[in-house]
Amino acid sequence: MNDFLHIPILQVLPPGWDLGWSLMLIPLLPLAGFLLLGLFGRKYVKNSSGIIGTTLLLVSTALSLYTAYGYFFEFGKVDGVYQKIIPVQFTWLQFSPGVSIDMGIILDPISVMMLVVVSFISLMVHIYSLGYMKGEERFPTYYAFLGLFTFSMLGLVMSSNIFQLYFFWELVGVSSFLLIGYYYDRPSAVAACKKAFIVTRFADLGFLIGILILSFYAGTLDFNTLIERLTSASAPEFQSAITSSFLGVSALTWALVLVFIGGAGKSAMFPLHIWLPDAMEGPTPVSALIHAATMVVAGVFLVARLFPVFSMSPPALDIVAYTGIISALFAAVIACTQTDIKRVLAYSTMSQIGFMMFALGVSGQGGENGLGFTASMFHLFTHAMFKALLFLGAGAVIHFIHSNEMKEMGGLRKYLPVTHISFLIACLAISGVPPFAGFFSKEEILLAAYHHNAGIYWMALVTSGLTAFYMFRLYFRIFWNRSAIVHGEHHGEGGFAMMVPLVLLAVGAAAAGFIPFGNFVSSDGKRPESVFHLEFSIAPVAIGLVGIFAAMWLYKKQNDRAAAIAKSLNGFYKAAYHKFYVDELYLFITKKILFNLIGRPAAWFDKNVVDGLVIGTGNTTQVISEKIKGFQSGKVQQYAIYFLAGVIGLAVLFIYVWK
């Protein structure tokens, strides 16, 4: 029998670091916020619900930072290697001996790093929303959903069991669905939230089957045991996973590729990216939190979590690398043509996640080879800062101008000075200009790619040029280009609540690069040797600057150059503007094939064939009885004739047949 309240503390921590309950509070506080505001928010605490949610999260963030401090500086390192610590774990659902879903908390460099990122960005968004969402009718509901999301995301990053991760994985999916559909009376928002949910759900199918395969071969769902069994070449589990194959590909590779499909769906990798631009229908702070900084990197996190296993299967890693780079380049091209500022940012997110993905794909396990892993995590960290900043800045702009369209904007630098500066910092960071955060992380990624695969390196270089170009296109179109047209009254930058997060994140985006990240996060927990080469960074910085100046030349002042270039690239520009028609392809597949070729025939078959058989049986019975009831005519003499015929028949039978 299970006892819910008795939760074993598995690993003994140094005195003063008894983290059982305080660790569990990190995700449970936002959950409490969700329950509290969801159940009572509408009636009792309508106006203070934002404060309640933010306060709870503040505590949770403080606990995360405390944990991170403790892990990285006090107890995490044993003999120079960061350990995987599982302070809390209990069996949630036992399937068969050894295979069970355990709810637990794992502390290792990436989970602690993610803990900080998620709680910090979420806190920023909570604070920002106090100003941005003020006066909304469903204000408590909004904070309740934010709490649900934060709970699920924190649970996801701390999962010690692959099925536990899947559990929270689905929960973040549904909170994303709820938040995208926050403005539920807009048909476009409804369509977007359904699309986001269904596309990621489709990808999760791969994840689920991947889990099933992994659990079958490893005989466990626990991450540590799973990784242990599937990475040592001598383990029988690993041998069986490598030797059994389907279509010439080993079971291990299949499992990893399927798991990666799940990750690709959540992280909006090509071709499962179509939901991300539409997800911008949600409130902008939500886009900053979920669709830029945290949830969409869950796919990267998943691959990183299983990285030791991935490193045993080069084909799977290649798929990760190529999907990443293709998505990065593809999204960057589209981002150059979009006019909705949130969509530009959405494609930029996709592109940056592509960077993280291929960085993992080109990485190896351990030592110098593990550079890509560290770089990917580093980029995840810095990207969370500057992309959240970009979205929140865009939110301030949208709040000010009441539109998402670039053509409504221009010259806003005078009206929104704080937003302007922080946006500029974020743009410089994402473009990889030293000394801002993005420079360091992108540098490492490119270096890792350079060592591993020249083709990927050159594509990545082009992409980072494009990144600089479209980001500064966005920047100049919003803040320069022409003089501002401001209609009537305006409410400035939205007050203190909206400015504080901008400033804090701007500091992060400017300075996060100086964190010696490699010391903390690496593929094997050891501190790698320093690999920074100054001469290597000339090319990426140069191409970044080219992109920036090109954007400046085209967009700083109003002119026709951009339109002329677009015209000269007519077909290609149009295709990119229409996102290369991927949406239309999906629509064709779902509407035409799924609904018309499967759903409709199934419904028809059921109604006419299966039910037809049932009704047919009934009708046949009826017809037959209709026919034979004529015998019961009421005519006495007719009965007598049947009687006589019967007697004669029986007589014949008895005399001649049965003797």
Partner: protein, 492 residues
């Protein structure tokens, strides 16, 4: 605890209902009676857990046996194991919620509640019976009231639906009866006693004939493809509580029968036909899901999705692993709660909008936040959201199915996994069209749920969340019993 209480209490309630003078008294009697049932089911749960914790490892607990018809070896033999307790709990939840949502029934109230309570009596008896004849007796008690519930209080083409349902279910139970008689005469010792039969080795030839009879017979109840067509018509015509009982309890009678009677006493037959069961249930899962996509009536949507979800139950049974069978029982409980809640919500919406067509609704979230929130929860449960019961049950079945390493089982499992995506499509479509979007002018003044509706929904949601958040208690309850069945199948 004495198990006859669970039969006497509904019986007493039913008799009292007949003695009441007006509708108000009838309703309160029914509510009090069903609340007592609810309490009693929990008493049973805790008594059961106590016994087990106290080291009582007998297969069936609280057994009692009276001679009923010694000449034919029929005895009144009751007893429960973990699976029965789970199903009794489910019944108690659904009954109390069903009584609450029928608060507005004005036509022949007394008879309506009488039949509802009678149905619950049949269900409790069925889940406790350890004698096949008694089991059949209670099965029939649980079937016949449904004909009247649909025929009298139904809507739409109710006579036809009632006929179809009654005839198909009667057809199913006649197969069951033939199967039972086959077992009786085919077994080495002429007996109807389930426990005795499970100890005997019924000849393989008898099993080969009787297993399909029993399995298909019970399968009709639980929407075994292609005998599922009573489900959409029956549900769409039934009154709200009728649909809840039908989907929440009656369909589970079949699943329980397939497991407890067919599979348990005839394991060789089960092994013989397992592949066919898997094929049929996989078809039901996918095909039910795809057929749901094209439905426009909320009740049809839930009815077809029930076909798909009950396919999981049969898939779990057909897979014949301990995990899968545990999952099948969990899925029965989970689906029972969920589908009862779904029908309750549909009833609430219908009472207000007077339509069940999804494309005629829209934006109901604005005027009925409570009801639409419940709709969201139940929809999310249906598509297997973690934290709600559907996820636990379906994942357990899938994990159990995956234990077979051969391609046939693998493909069936993957096909079943796919239905999860299709489920998401139709659920989101239904929710999106009813709850979200701009609201229509004629619905702008509708009222939200009343106390009885809220209470009913909260009770069922509590059950769904209790399983979804803490599945281990259900797992602890069910899996030892599933293991006994599996040991029998494995020939231990």
């Amino acid at each position: 605890m004495n198990l006859t209480l669970l039969i006497l209490l509904p019986l007493l309630t039913a008799v009292l209902i007949l003695l009441m003078r007006n509708a108000q008294q009838v309703k309160w009697t029914a509510l009090i009676g069903s609340t007592l049932q609810f309490a009693l089911a929990f008493v049973l749960l805790f008594a059961f857990r106590n016994e087990r914790a106290g080291g009582n490892e007998a297969q069936m607990l609280f057994e009692l046996q009276y001679n009923w018809f010694p000449a034919l070896h029929i005895s009144f033999h009751l007893g429960v194991d973990g699976i029965s307790v789970a199903m009794i709990l489910l019944t108690a939840f659904v009954v109390v919620a069903g009584v609450l949502v029928s608060w507005n029934v004005t036509k022949m109230t007394k008879e309506f509640y009488f039949l509802l309570i009678l149905l619950s009596l049949g269900a409790y008896g069925f889940f406790m019976s350890l004698d096949l004849f008694i089991l059949f007796f209670f099965l029939e008690i649980a079937v016949i009231p449904k004909y009247l519930l649909i025929g009298i209080w139904g809507s739409g083409n109710k006579e036809k639906a009632a006929n179809k349902l009654a005839l198909m279910l009667m057809g199913g139970s006649s197969l069951v009866l033939v199967g039972l008689l086959g077992v009786y005469f085919g077994s080495p010792e002429k007996t109807f006693d389930l426990m005795t039969l499970s100890q005997l080795n019924i000849p393989v030839e008898v099993q080969k004939i009787c297993f399909p009879l029993l399995f298909v017979g019970f399968g009709v109840f639980t929407a075994l493809f292609p005998f599922h067509t009573w489900v959409p018509d029956g549900h769409s015509s039934a009154p709200t509580a009728g649909s809840m009982f039908l989907a929440g309890i009656s369909m589970k009678l079949g699943g329980y029968g397939c497991l407890r009677v067919a599979t348990y006493i005839m394991p060789d037959g089960a092994k013989e036909y397992a592949d066919i069961i898997i094929v049929l249930s996989t078809i039901a899962i996918l095909y039910g899901a795809f057929a749901t996509m094209m439905q426009k009536d909320l009740k049809y949507i839930n009815a077809y999705s029930s076909v798909s979800h009950c396919g999981f139950v049969l898939l779990g049974i057909g897979m014949l692993t301990k995990t899968a069978i545990t999952g099948a029982v969990m899925q029965m409980v989970s689906h029972g709660l969920m589908t009862a809640l779904f029908f309750a919500v549909i009833g609430m919406i219908y009472e207000r909008t007077h339509t069940r067509q999804v494309n005629e609704m829209g934006g109901l979230l604005k005027v009925m936040p409570f009801i639409t929130t419940v709709l969201f929860i139940v929809g999310l449960c249906s598509l297997g959201l973690p934290g709600l019961s559907g996820f636990v049950a379906e994942m357990t079945i899938l994990m159990g199915s995956w234990q077979h390493p051969d391609w046939f089982h693998r493909i069936a499992t993957i096909a079943a996994c796919m239905s999860i995506v299709v489920t998401a499509v139709y659920i989101l479509r239904a929710i999106g069209q009813t709850a979200m979007g701009p609201i229509k002018a004629e619905y702008a003044n509708l009222a939200d749920a009343k106390w009885n509706e809220k209470l009913a929904a909260v009770i069922l949601i509590a059950g769904i969340i209790a399983i979804g958040v803490a599945p281990f208690w259900l797992n602890d309850l069910v899996s030892p019993a599933a293991e006994i069945i599996m040991n029998k199948v494995a020939g231990k």
